[in-house]
Symmetry: C2
Subunit: 296 residues, 2 copies
């Protein structure tokens, strides 16, 4: 499999759906839809929707029907980036090589664009067509799953602990918590969304959940390493920002080499979780390898 | 009916439910749960949940079962107040006579507390017990309803237009749009939530929707008038803030007397919408009168 071109195809599929599912930019009041689209279409690999669809693919789910729920995950991811970038939070001027939402539209509009994306995400989920497999009850389960992963036990909780512990003195437990919440929770919810809307058995759900949890850890450790050894041009944002901001990271806590080994170990565990799914799981296998070995 | 004491009883009923449905304050990370509770329990009449339950009352719905969805409306209301008060938005220091969330917990935590409340609202709705009347399908309809009312076609859209037109030069259409979105949309969603989870007929839904729309307008016009003629002690926030901020208001556009007549007219229309419901609708009748005639 040419993973990069396969991922590109899937990213494009998601982008087409996002374009179709979002209110047109001229919808009143246009400025907010412009700000929402500015951040949502600033690039990005759409990993969360891609994970949801790949999970459906393994279980024989209908990928087209679950698109609105998959796209909802990207809306939530984008909202969290917009709010995290705000001056009161991480105060970042650049994101993927472009001015952040508040730099472009001002703080008030950036806060509101984040609020709009988070709200719209839940509306999107309700747009999935009801079928034999996608029942109203399974949609409710997905909404519960995604809201938990985004709230104080997930995204929001992770960000709270992150901004309070911008000191390399954070302990291992805190570091794990931040990463489990900030990245892991949404990866987990993404994979489970795809599975739950494809009639997953309990065992399938457990296997895919394990995959997602290890993928999330692998991703975050690799991200921390990239911030140190990466090339600013490839990443699209200033490197060494973690050091500058005195952020708790895996390399800071364990050293670069040990962190590299930890990422590799998480990758192996992710692969083991989906051992039993044959060729259908090849994309998810390549994905975790890509995440650990990427240079951007 | 002693409306004030009846409203007090209902407010208390909601407060008990909110206390039970929210994560305990010691849940990790405690600071965010503290900030969430600080704003959520800062007082307030809980009009949105009260409207949802009163609507169920009229239609013979089970008020206890729909409590999580009713409480979700209050969480969304509180999130919108926290974000609206932020320095980048209305920059208010006081809310109900107490320091606003960002004054007490800092801007970052206030943004996150709002995000947490909005997210938790959707989780809460999924907690309604499934019954013959409260089906997963009706819960999905409610989630669609509430997310639309909170998004760019409702709360968020209203706030966008509001912060962009802080000039008394806004035209009538803009003023109507702001108020319809900032207050009306959530009143409407509240009443419809109660109705949809009580097996409302199409006609009941239409009647109650009409009531809510006129109630929302009546409330907003009365609120604008209070900002001019009210007593700071009773209202719990500085008066004349609309004039200070050069906000578009009904009294500024039409004069105080005409605005007063408009509020009365909206009240009459609200009453007419629920004409056919006999005694069961007495509470909703007293409510709209209270909203127009209150002094705080």
């Amino acid at each position: 499999m040419d993973f990069i071109s396969e991922l590109g195809k899937r990213t494009k599929f998601i982008n087409v759906a996002l374009e179709r599912l979002l209110p047109p930019v001229e919808t009143y009041p246009p400025i907010i839809h412009e700000a929402v689209r500015y951040s949502l279409f600033a690039g990005g690999k759409r990993l969360r929707p891609v994970l949801a669809l790949a999970s459906a693919e393994i279980l024989g789910g209908n990928q087209r029907d679950i698109l609105p729920a998959a796209c909802a995950l990207e809306l939530i991811h984008t909202y969290s980036l917009i709010h995290d970038d705000l001056p009161a939070m991480d105060n970042d001027d650049l994101r993927r090589g472009m001015p952040t939402c508040h730099k472009k539209y001002g703080e008030a509009m950036a806060i509101l664009a984040g609020d709009a994306l988070l709200t719209m995400a839940f509306e999107l989920i309700t747009l999935c067509p009801v079928t034999n497999v996608i029942t109203p009850a399974s949609l409710i389960t997905v909404i519960a799953e995604i809201s938990r992963a985004s709230g104080t036990a997930g995204l929001v909780g992770g960000q709270v602990v992150d901004i309070m512990s911008t000191s390399s003195k954070a302990d291992e437990e805190t570091l794990d918590y931040i990463h489990r919440c900030k990245t892991g929770a949404m990866y987990r919810a993404s994979v489970r969304t795809g599975a739950l809307l494809s009639g997953a058995s309990r065992k399938d759900l457990d296997n895919l959940t394990g995959y997602a949890e290890h993928l999330g850890m692998a991703f975050q450790i690799a991200d921390d390493i990239l911030d140190i050894v990466g090339d600013e041009k490839n990443i699209g944002k200033p490197v060494k920002s973690d050091i500058k901001n005195d952020k708790a990271t895996y390399p800071a806590m364990y050293g670069i080499e040990a962190a590299g080994r930890m990422a590799g170990d998480q990758m192996k565990r992710a692969l083991r979780s989906i051992d039993g799914y044959g060729e259908k799981a090849d994309f998810l296998r390549e994905l975790v390898k890509f995440v650990v070995n990427r240079n951007h």
